[in-house]
C-alpha cells in the first residue's frame, strides 16, 4: 500500500514536473527594432501635462545613440500631411514591416511637439531616422518641416534645402528659423529679415535661390552636413527603405506618392534599393512605373542610367514615364531618347516625349521634330504644342487658338496650358469646361500676344 502511494506520488511528481516544464513561459523574444515603446509614447504625448512639459520629455529622448527611442519619436512626429501611412512591425512581412492607414489617433494640433521630435531624432545622431526626416520635410507645420530639412542635412541629405528657401516666404517664425539655418550651413548671409519689407525680402530670397543653384552642384560639404547614407550601414534603416520601395508598387496612390518622394529625396542612397525593387517588380508594371517616377525625381546620372533601361521596358507606361524624365534633361542623350521615342509603336511614348521637350524648351530637338510625320491626331496636336512652347513664335498662336476651339479634349487642354505658360496668364481650373471662363482667358492671351510679339521667354 505504502509502495503504491509512493509510486502514485512519484507519478504525480513527474506529471507536475512535466506540467511545470510545459507551462514555463518561453524566453522573451527581443522586441522588433521598429516597435513603439507604448509606455514611452504615453509619456511623450500625455494629455495630462502641459505642452512645455511634453516638449521637455521629447527633447530628453534626444540623447546621442538612444536609437531605441526612434520608433516612438517617429510616432510623435507622424502626421498624415507627410505620411498618410504608418509602418507596423510584422514577423511575416518580408522586411519586418507592414503598411497601415495613419490612424491619426494622437491630437493633430501638436506642431511644436512634432518639431521637437525632429530635434530629438537629429540629436540621437543615427541614420536610422533618415527616412522619417525626409518625409517630415512635407509636414504641414512649417517649423517641423524646416527642422526636418536641417536634420536631413546632418544625416547627409541636401534634399531639404529648397524647402528652407521656400520657408523664407512664409510666416516670420518659419522664415526666421529657416534663414538662421541657411546662414549657419552656408556661412553666407544675404541680409534676410522678416521685418525688412516685401521688396528687400524678395531680393534676399532671390539671392538664396541663386546661391543654391550654384552650390547644389558643389560636392564640398556644407557646414553641419554629415556623411551620406549607403546601403548596409544600418540594417534597420535598410528594412525601412525596402518597405518604402515596396509601397511604390502597392495600391494606395497617396502612400505610393509619399514613398516615391522620399526615395527621390534619398537620391543616390536609394539607387541600390530601387535596383533590388526592380527585380522584385519584374511582373508588376505599376511598381516599375512608380520606381521610374521616383528615379525621375533624382537629378543623378546613375538614376538616368536606370531610366535608360526602363525606357525600353515592355510596358508602355514605364517607357513613357522614363522617356519623359530623360527628354527633360539637357544634353545630347535627351535628343536621341526623343528621336527613339517618336518611333515607338505605342503613341503614349512619343506623346510623353513631345510633352517633355516642350516643357524643357528643348531647341535641340526641333530638327527631329520638323522631320517627323504623325498619323495619329493626338501626336499631331502634341507636336504643335511642343513646337509652340519651344519656339515661342507668335505665328504659332493662331494654331494654338484653333486647337483650343477644335482639337481633341487632351489637345485642347495642352494648348490652353501652353498659352498660359508662354504668356504668363493664370489658367483657371475650369478653363477646359466653362466656355465663359475659357473665353476670358483667351481674351487675356490675345491682349498679351498683341502687346508682346514675339512672346517673351518666360
Amino acid at each position: 500500500m505504502k509502495a503504491s502511494c509512493v509510486s502514485v506520488a512519484k507519478r504525480w511528481a513527474v506529471a507536475a514536473l512535466l506540467v511545470a516544464a510545459c507551462s514555463t513561459p518561453p524566453p522573451p523574444e527581443a522586441p522588433s527594432p521598429h516597435a513603439i515603446d507604448a509606455a514611452l509614447l504615453a509619456r511623450l504625448t500625455d494629455p495630462g501635462v502641459a505642452s512645455p512639459e511634453r516638449i521637455e520629455r521629447i527633447l530628453a529622448e534626444g540623447r546621442p545613440g538612444n536609437v531605441a527611442a526612434i520608433p516612438t519619436l517617429r510616432a510623435v512626429l507622424s502626421d498624415k500631411s507627410q505620411t498618410a501611412f504608418v509602418l507596423v512591425p510584422s514577423k511575416t512581412a518580408a522586411w519586418g514591416l507592414v503598411v497601415a492607414e495613419n490612424p491619426s489617433a494622437l491630437p493633430v494640433e501638436r506642431g511644436p511637439e512634432r518639431a521637437m521630435a525632429v530635434i530629438a531624432l537629429e540629436s540621437i545622431g543615427s541614420w536610422r531616422a533618415l527616412a522619417d526626416v525626409l518625409h517630415a520635410i512635407d509636414d504641414r507645420d512649417g517649423l517641423t518641416a524646416v527642422h526636418a530639412a536641417r536634420a536631413a542635412l546632418r544625416f547627409g541629405s541636401r534634399a531639404g534645402i529648397p524647402r528652407l528657401i521656400t520657408a523664407l516666404e512664409r510666416k516670420a517664425y518659419e522664415s526666421e528659423t529657416a534663414n538662421r539655418m541657411l546662414v549657419d550651413m552656408s556661412g553666407v548671409d544675404f541680409g534676410f529679415d522678416a521685418d525688412i519689407g516685401m521688396q528687400a525680402k524678395a531680393e534676399a530670397v532671390a539671392k538664396w535661390r541663386a546661391w543654391w543653384k550654384d552650390r547644389a552642384k558643389d560636392p564640398k560639404p556644407l557646414v553641419g552636413e554629415g556623411p551620406a547614407y549607403r546601403m548596409g550601414l544600418d540594417p534597420i534603416l535598410d528594412e525601412r527603405i525596402r518597405t518604402e520601395v515596396d509601397i511604390v508598387g502597392q495600391f494606395q496612390f497617396l502612400f505610393m506618392e509619399q514613398s516615391r518622394r522620399m526615395l527621390a529625396r534619398l537620391g543616390a542612397a536609394a539607387l541600390p534599393f530601387v535596383e533590388e525593387g526592380l527585380v522584385r517588380a519584374a511582373d508588376k508594371p505599376t511598381w516599375r512605373a512608380g520606381l521610374a517616377q521616383a528615379l525621375a525625381g533624382m537629378d543623378l546620372p546613375e538614376a538616368r542610367a536606370i531610366l535608360r533601361r526602363l525606357a525600353k521596358d515592355p510596358f508602355p507606361s514605364v517607357r513613357s514615364r522614363s522617356v519623359e524624365a530623360l527628354v527633360a534633361v539637357e544634353g545630347e542623350e535627351g535628343v536621341s531618347v526623343f528621336a527613339d521615342a517618336l518611333r515607338d509603336s505605342d503613341p503614349s511614348i512619343p506623346l510623353a516625349a513631345l510633352r517633355a521637350a516642350g516643357s524643357a524648351r528643348r531647341n535641340d530637338v526641333l530638327v527631329v521634330l520638323e522631320a517627323a510625320r504623325f498619323t495619329v491626331k493626338e501626336l499631331e496636336e502634341a507636336s504643335k504644342v511642343a513646337r509652340f512652347r519651344i519656339r515661342r513664335d507668335s505665328r504659332d498662336v493662331a494654331a494654338m487658338m484653333e486647337q483650343v476651339a477644335n482639337g481633341l479634349p487632351g489637345g485642347r487642354a495642352a494648348a490652353l496650358e501652353a498659352l498660359a505658360e508662354v504668356y504668363g496668364v493664370v489658367l483657371p481650373d475650369d478653363a477646359t469646361v466653362d466656355d465663359r471662363v475659357r473665353a476670358a482667358f483667351l481674351d487675356e492671351v490675345r491682349v498679351r500676344s498683341a502687346q508682346e510679339n514675339p512672346p517673351p521667354g518666360r
Partner: protein
C-alpha cells in the same frame, strides 16, 4: 432517414464552406497572373472604342452614356482635376487595359484617346485578345479576337480604381460577400441583366448592361438609403438607413457628400435651414474634421444653428448593422454610413419654427450649395402641435 441525414450533412458542408469563404474574404481572390490570361496569337488592330461600335452598337451606346464613357470629359472631373493637370487622376480616368496591368493592381495611364475615358479596352483587352463571357467562344472570325475568360467577371477588374477608397473592402464586410444565394458583387448591382443583342448579327439575349448605374443614376441613388421621420411636439425624429447598397453610403470618392438638412419656416414667415449631419469620408488634409460617432452604438449630441431663428439640439445614435455589426473601419474620421447601418436623430427645434422639411441631399462634391444638390428624400412635417 438516410436521405435526411445526407441532406443534413450537405447543409452542414455548405454552411461550413460559406463560413470559411466568408472568413477568408480578407485575403481576396487567388492571384491571377497576367501571364495566365489567354492570348489569341492573331494580330488585333482595334485602337479605339469606336472601332468596337460596328459590331456592338447597343453595348457601345450603353457605355458611351455611362460614367465610364464620360470618365475624362465629365465637367465635374475636369474641374476637380484642373483639366487633368493633376496627372495622378489619369490612371483611373483613362486607364490602360487592366488585364495587362494586372487584375487588382493599381491602374496605369494611357496618354491618347483620352476622350474615351474608361474605354472598352480597359476591362476587355489583353494584348491581341478581347476577353469576354463564355458566349463569345464561337466568334472566331471577329476582328477583336474574342476569348472567353473568367477574368472579365473578376471583381479585381474593378478594384484597381474602385478600391482606392476601400469600397470593395467595405463590401467584403457585408452579407452580400457571403457565398450563397444572397451573394452580389460589383457586377450584381452595377451591371444588371438586360435583353439585347450583343452584336449586330446575333439575336437578343440576356447580357450585362454597360450603363453601370450608380450615383449618376437617380433611381439607383434614391434606392441607396431610406429616410423615416416622426414628430413629437417640437422633437423631430429622423432615421437614415443604408439599406440599398452593399458598401458605405455615399461610396467611393472622398468628394461625395450626403447632407441631412432641415429647412424650416419661422413664425414670421422667413425660411431658415441648418445641416443636421453630413455623411462623408473626409479628404486626408481635412485635419480638423472629427467623427462624433466612431463606433456602432455610439451616441453624441450637438447643436444645429438656425441663425436668428434659434438653435436646435441634436441627439444622434449610430445604429449597428444586423449582419457583422463590428466592421473594420478603415478611416477613423469617416462618417459614411456602412451598409445595413442607420443614424437616428432626435432634433429638438426652437420655438420659432413651424413647418419643417427634412431633406437628404446628395452632393457630387462637398463644396456644392444645397440648391445644387440632388434631392434623395424629403419629408414635410408640422411641429409644435
Amino acid at each position: 432517414m438516410n436521405r435526411l441525414r445526407l441532406l443534413s450533412v450537405i447543409a452542414v458542408l455548405v454552411a461550413v464552406g460559406a463560413t470559411v469563404g466568408w472568413l477568408s474574404r480578407g485575403s481576396g481572390s487567388p492571384s491571377t497572373s497576367v501571364a495566365e490570361l489567354p492570348r489569341s496569337g492573331k494580330p488585333m488592330t482595334l485602337a479605339r472604342s469606336s472601332d468596337c461600335r460596328p459590331c456592338h452598337q447597343e453595348v457601345y451606346d450603353e457605355w458611351a452614356g455611362s460614367q465610364h464613357g464620360l470618365a475624362y470629359t465629365n465637367p465635374e472631373v475636369q474641374r476637380l482635376s484642373k483639366g487633368f493637370r493633376d496627372r495622378d487622376c489619369l490612371p483611373c480616368h483613362a486607364p490602360r487595359p487592366i488585364p495587362e496591368t494586372g487584375l487588382g493592381e493599381r491602374a496605369l495611364e494611357r496618354l491618347v484617346t483620352l476622350e474615351e475615358g474608361v474605354d472598352c479596352f480597359a476591362c476587355h483587352k489583353h494584348h491581341d485578345t478581347m476577353l469576354g463571357g463564355t458566349h463569345i467562344a464561337g466568334a472566331v472570325d471577329a476582328p477583336c479576337n474574342p476569348v472567353p475568360s473568367a477574368a472579365i467577371k473578376d471583381l479585381r477588374t474593378c478594384t484597381p480604381c474602385h478600391d482606392q477608397h476601400k469600397v470593395v473592402q467595405d463590401w467584403k464586410e457585408t452579407h452580400y460577400a457571403v457565398p450563397g444565394p444572397g451573394f452580389k458583387d460589383c457586377n450584381g448591382c452595377h451591371m444588371p441583366e438586360v435583353d439585347r443583342p450583343a452584336t449586330a448579327t446575333l439575336p437578343a439575349r440576356k447580357g450585362k448592361s454597360h450603363r453601370f448605374p450608380a450615383s449618376h443614376d437617380l433611381a439607383s441613388l434614391k434606392s441607396a438609403a431610406s429616410m423615416k421621420t416622426s414628430v413629437d411636439g417640437r422633437a423631430v425624429g429622423i432615421e437614415v438607413r443604408n439599406d440599398g447598397t452593399g458598401h458605405n453610403f455615399p461610396a467611393d470618392e472622398r468628394h461625395r457628400a450626403v447632407d441631412l438638412v432641415i429647412v424650416a419656416e419661422t413664425s414670421t414667415g422667413s425660411v431658415v435651414s441648418a445641416r443636421i449631419d453630413r455623411y462623408r469620408n473626409p479628404y486626408r488634409d481635412e485635419f480638423d474634421l472629427k467623427s462624433p460617432l466612431r463606433n456602432p452604438g455610439a451616441e453624441a449630441e450637438w447643436i444645429a444653428d438656425f441663425g436668428a431663428a434659434g438653435r436646435a439640439s441634436v441627439r444622434a445614435t449610430r445604429v449597428a448593422a444586423a449582419f457583422n455589426p463590428n466592421r473594420k473601419q478603415h478611416y477613423a474620421e469617416n462618417t459614411q454610413i456602412p451598409a445595413g447601418e442607420a443614424r437616428r436623430y432626435v432634433v429638438v427645434l426652437p420655438e420659432s419654427l413651424r413647418s419643417v422639411t427634412v431633406r437628404l441631399l446628395y452632393k457630387r462634391q462637398p463644396f456644392l450649395q444645397d440648391a445644387e444638390a440632388i434631392l434623395l428624400h424629403e419629408s414635410v412635417l408640422r411641429v409644435g402641435g
